[in-house]
């Protein structure tokens, strides 16, 4: 039996347009094992995943359940054993079909006999996903977390023995993530399914049986999370500013290959990325931000919302939410998918009308359309996925934003050059955004949002899908901005580890504010919590 379920990947390489995406990957997996793929954006995880799923051409050989395949056509005979969930929330779903219709549809295209046994399995899956009460709801009306759970159970309908998931939890809130993992754990125990999963959340990776670290198309380390963490313990120290030239720092940790005169702290899997970068001598320039051209001594309460309410039909998206943004403060807005964060931000931005309550900016109440125009010129906004114009180069995008904000041309050109240098995307100025790595797009979106020197910066999940190093650097930038510019920053994120870098946290649940306090106070109020994730979950119990 042990031999039957085994998956053997033997020197698999994938090339995209003559560029090597993954080179000679070799891996053996036993029945019921969960393998985590971690690595930066573009490191080759997705390519290997697609090769194993038999949906793209590859070189090398893959053996699964004693059948060998070298190409997508040879893998065809195994497709009934394989389940693939591609990257992107709700990508395999149809907005207009209900949950129940999805299950019937996927059962039909998989040609599954819909007997009692199947129906029992189906209702078990629905219960596990917590979707049994929503069988008649259309997929388009589900929250992101529910969509991912639905995608997962649709992929599980034909009882695959090999389940392949490409970043199933990116952009999903901690609560739904935990539920998703419960399903996976149950399935692999009941069915002996092999689960291959790529993830951007290191806490998730730490719970898997084995972790593979990808870098530039190669698997550079593999082992249990414990072994991997041990391997970098020696190089992890408490934050030691300007330690030496061969070190890298995040907001609370310094990584160095040479011994430092500092205390060690216990590393997480993220340390692997930093140590790997250090070993390959890919150092990052230190973050430096010059103060803004304009005045930064504005009122200490930048924005205040009192009793903000938004109603869609008979659904109350936001109910009497109070929030205050202070000068020089980073405020984290957290909550599950569908808790009303986006609605709230859109009201603050003036994109949605306010159904109740009042909003004031720098002490002035926002009432008329003219007020809203003024509001827009004091806000900088970085949207999810860093959407910018894909038919213009980085430079043209920035110039366009400057023109729209009526910044004089010479000031604009000077500012763009300065931001490009400080935020580190100088060499990409003439590239089209879609050709650039996500981390670069993130920083240039930030530059676009800062061109008009706003007093408030809104960031809507700016770090989803961005690798650990880029994320750490982004946070250093935000902290520097806060200090030098005295800007108020409102940020939403699903990385609970990032919440710890915020000065204050607002937690939302079902359209209402359930917590508003500093990190330290929250830890005091929840003495049993070890991590911020546990505090978050307590509000949802």
């Amino acid at each position: 039996m042990q031999m039957m379920g085994m998956l053997k990947i033997d020197r698999v390489s994938v090339t995209h347009n003559k560029r090597i995406a993954i080179k000679e990957a070799t891996l053996n997996v036993n029945e019921g094992e969960i393998i985590g793929f971690i690595g930066a954006d573009g490191a080759g995880k997705s390519s290997l995943i697609h090769a194993i799923a038999g949906v793209i051409r590859f070189e090398g050989q893959i053996t699964f359940q004693n059948s060998v395949y070298h190409s997508p056509s040879e893998a065809e005979k195994l497709k009934s054993q394989i389940g693939l969930m591609p990257q992107g929330i709700g990508l395999v779903l149809y907005d207009l079909l209900t949950v129940g219709e999805h299950l019937r549809f996927f059962a039909n295209i998989r040609n599954i006999t819909q007997d009692d046994r199947f129906n029992e399995y189906k209702s078990r899956l629905l219960r596990m996903a917590g979707l049994d009460k929503f069988v008649d709801r259309r997929a388009g009306n589900l929250s992101g977390g529910m969509m991912q759970k639905l995608s997962l159970i649709c992929t599980l309908l034909h009882r695959p023995k090999l389940l392949i998931l490409d970043e199933p939890t990116t952009g999903v809130d901690p609560l739904s993530r935990i539920e998703l993992w419960k399903i996976l754990d149950q399935i692999r125990r009941d069915e002996g399914t092999i689960v291959l999963v790529s993830t951007a959340y290191m806490q998730e990776a730490a719970q898997m049986d084995r972790v593979l670290l990808f870098d530039s198309g190669e698997i550079i380390a593999q082992g249990s999370a414990k072994e991997l963490i041990e391997s970098v313990r020696e190089m992890t120290y408490v934050l030691t500013p300007s330690a030496n030239l061969h070190s890298m720092s995040t907001l609370d940790t310094t990584y160095s290959l040479e011994p430092l005169e500092a205390e060690h702290i216990s590393p997480t899997l993220e340390a692997l990325f930093f140590v790997n970068a250090l070993q390959k001598n890919r150092l990052l320039p230190p973050v430096e931000i010059t103060p803004r051209d304009g005045d930064s001594s504005f009122a200490s309460v930048v924005m205040e919302a009192i009793g903000l309410t938004k109603v869609f039909g008979d659904f109350i998206a936001n109910e009497h939410v109070d929030i205050r943004l202070n000068r020089g403060e980073i405020l984290g807005l957290l909550g599950a998918n569908g808790a009303g964060k986006t609605t709230f931000i859109k009201m603050l931005l003036g994109l949605l009308s306010i159904d109740g309550g009042e909003l004031s900016l720098l002490g002035k109440r926002i009432e008329t359309a003219k007020d809203r125009q003024a509001l827009k010129s004091s806000i900088g906004y970085v949207s999810q996925h860093f959407a910018l114009y894909n038919d213009m180069t980085v430079r043209e995008n920035l110039l366009y934003f400057a023109l729209m904000h009526q910044i004089p041309m010479d000031t604009a050109i000077k500012r763009i050059a300065r931001y490009a240098a400080e935020l580190g995307f100088e060499e990409y100025m003439d590239a089209i955004p879609t050709e650039l790595p996500l981390g670069i797009n993130q920083r240039f979106s930030l530059a676009a949002a800062l061109l008009h020197e706003p007093v408030i910066l809104f960031l809507d999940e700016p770090t989803s899908g961005v690798d650990a190093i880029a994320r750490a650097q982004f946070w250093q930038l935000l902290v520097a901005l806060k200090e030098k510019w005295k800007i108020a920053i409102l940020i939403t994120t699903h990385y609970m580890s990032e919440a710890e870098f915020c000065d204050r946290i607002v937690l939302m649940r079902e359209g209402q504010k359930v917590a508003d306090d500093t990190i330290a106070n929250l830890y005091t109020a929840h003495p049993n919590a070890q991590t911020f994730e546990e505090i978050f979950l307590e509000y949802y119990r």
Partner: protein
């Protein structure tokens, strides 16, 4: 304000030129599409396949058949029985079948009522009916009936009665309608698709300026297409006569494109992606074209539809353009068309403008 307006226009034009697939489609529409319509659509019979069954000895029947010659007709094919002929018509080998009865020639000679049976494939309606018309003429000719009237025709405005030039122009006008609607809608909907819609709304710019500038950029694109199509295809290849003023046509086109882009704004307000833009444009555009008189003359329509056609700006545009090209109408006498296009188009642009303005 002016600087912002032109910045947005410039950005949209850059975006248009960089998406080479779209440029190719627009160029194709304005050149090849107009050319195919002008050279491809035939209303006069050409290469019509004729079959016949001849039960007579063949004197009179052959005389009639010799009148059916190229380029209008292929050499008539003989069939042995009516069922064989029917079969051939069913298989689309023959479009018009002629059956000469055994006593056809006898009755003719005796001056009794001779009967000539014609089978037609009415799916090729216009070709078949024009052929029927030909046959009636041939028979009138042969019978030498003495009618004391001579008909002398004077063909006005289109001296060769050439419908190539006419079809090319009509097609150009339809394409202008289609592209002014779709291009304008796509400019807005692409922002929705790329997720830049919120960013656009967040610009501290008057929404009216954004809408005007974005739709104006596409008006420029369509106007450029019109000039290219006029120069190379309509005037270059088909030699459409220009009896009036070209600048009057361009000005009329400009106002009409505004009307089209108003419809585009309306669609952009509803559609979520480019696919929906395509679907909605066809649903809205088809009645506009049907009611415009492009395919059926207005006076031939049902009276109710004749009234409805007053709200199609394309109606005024087509009548106006024909007047300019064929009739050589003076500027001063074009005012009804200008009035129609500007009034109906203005209302359409205003509706579209309001509709999309609500999203800002």
């Amino acid at each position: 304000m002016i600087r912002i307006f032109w910045s947005i226009v410039g950005k949209e034009l850059i975006g248009f030129i960089r998406s080479w697939q779209l440029v190719l489609v627009v160029l194709y529409m304005f050149s090849v599409e107009v050319y195919i319509a002008g050279s491809g659509i035939e209303i006069n019979p050409r290469n019509v396949a004729v079959g016949y069954v001849d039960g007579t000895a063949g004197g009179l029947s052959q005389k009639i058949l010799t009148h059916l010659h190229g380029p209008e007709f292929l050499a008539p094919r003989r069939f042995n029985s009516q069922s064989e002929l029917s079969r051939a018509i069913f298989d689309k080998e023959i479009i018009v079948g002629i059956v000469f009865d055994e006593d056809f020639e006898k009755k003719w000679r005796q001056n009794k009522r001779a009967q000539l049976d014609i089978l037609m494939d009415a799916t090729a309606a216009s070709q078949a009916y024009t052929t029927l018309n030909y046959l009636q003429h041939i028979i009138l000719d042969i019978s030498k009936i003495n009618i004391p009237v001579d008909i002398v025709t004077h063909k006005l405005f289109n001296q060769n009665a050439d419908n190539h030039t006419f079809m090319a122009l009509t097609e150009l006008l339809s394409i202008i309608t289609m592209l002014s609607i779709i291009l304008t809608a796509v400019v807005f909907v692409r922002e929705k698709e790329q997720g830049t819609w919120d960013l656009m709304l967040l610009m501290p710019v008057n929404p009216k300026v954004i809408i005007l500038a974005k739709s104006f950029s596409q008006i420029i694109v369509v106007m450029t297409g019109i000039v290219i199509s006029l120069g190379f295809v309509v005037l270059g290849i088909f030699n459409v006569p220009v009896n009036g003023s070209l600048s009057a046509f361009l000005l009329l086109s400009f106002f009409f494109v505004f009307a089209g882009s108003g419809i585009g704004l309306f669609i952009a307000a509803i559609a979520r992606d480019v696919m929906q833009v395509a679907q909605l444009s066809i649903v809205i555009m088809m009645p506009l074209i049907f009611l415009s008189g492009a395919w059926t003359p207005i006076y031939a329509m049902h009276p109710v539809l004749q009234y409805v056609s007053f709200i199609s700006p394309l109606r005024y545009y087509i009548e106006g353009s024909e007047s300019i090209f064929y009739r050589g109408t003076e500027w001063i006498d074009l005012w009804p068309y200008f009035l129609g296009v500007i009034a109906v188009g203005g209302v359409m642009y205003w509706i579209g403008f309001r509709k999309i303005g609500r999203l800002f």
